[in-house]
Symmetry: C2
Subunit: 139 residues, 2 copies
């Protein structure tokens, strides 16, 4: 049984077959799936699951802080189950591959107080872009 499901249950989540399947899909593959990809994989196990339910469930997981939304391109949001360890993303501009990476310092601390304009800054999203080895080699 996944840790993700455990944590959600502890927070009073009603446990349904649909939510279980979505959590298992996220927990199972450590890649960054779009909502529709999650739906496709979930439908493999529970054919009658609807798209709306997957969107709702993902949205709830994000609100609870169990999953992080990543927007690396102009297309679909992606969902990253690795929410409890802060990290950044490295994206290939050509093939779209995404890797989790770790910067040497905390990016939040890089924004000086006089550049915050009174904002209460709580989060930072960092996306590096470039070419992966395969694409750089012209593959």
């Amino acid at each position: 049984m996944s840790d993700l499901l455990e944590r959600l249950r502890e927070r009073g989540w009603r446990m349904t077959a649909q939510r279980r399947v979505v959590a298992e899909v996220l927990d199972g593959e450590h890649v960054h799936l779009t909502a529709d990809e999650v739906h496709a994989r979930a439908a493999g196990r529970l054919p009658e699951i609807s798209r709306a339910t997957v969107y709702n469930t993902l949205g709830e997981m994000v609100s609870l802080g169990e999953v992080v939304e990543v927007t690396t391109d102009r297309r679909a949001k992606r969902y990253d189950p690795n929410a409890h360890r802060p990290h950044q993303h490295l994206v290939c501009a050509r093939c779209g591959t995404i890797r989790d990476v770790h910067t040497s310092g905390d990016p939040l601390s890089q924004l000086p107080a006089d550049e915050r304009f009174g904002f209460t800054v709580s989060d930072v999203e960092v996306t590096y872009r470039g070419l992966c080895p395969d694409c750089a080699a012209g593959a």
Copy 2:
């Protein structure tokens, strides 16, 4: 006459009324507009301009490096005419206000070589999120 137009002309751009209007809209307001907002403002001056033309023109400006695309939310891309000074963005999670900010160091140098996985890293996009003073005050 705008600097933006000057630079584009020097690069062999054919100058049309539509392109002029789009450039003027971007140059005139130092905010971060969506493509459709640009279209709305452009249509104020040149009513028959089409949406496709605005999208095309913005895309060309981005390719030429004169304008930067910013995706701060899941909705529309925004266009930042301030392309020649590297900067990051600070976004209010509630009202969506966007400010240009400057970090204390170069974020690109914060990614160690052993975290690059052979990628040729050429760019980094940093978005800080939080609440602006008004929204934090419950306004």
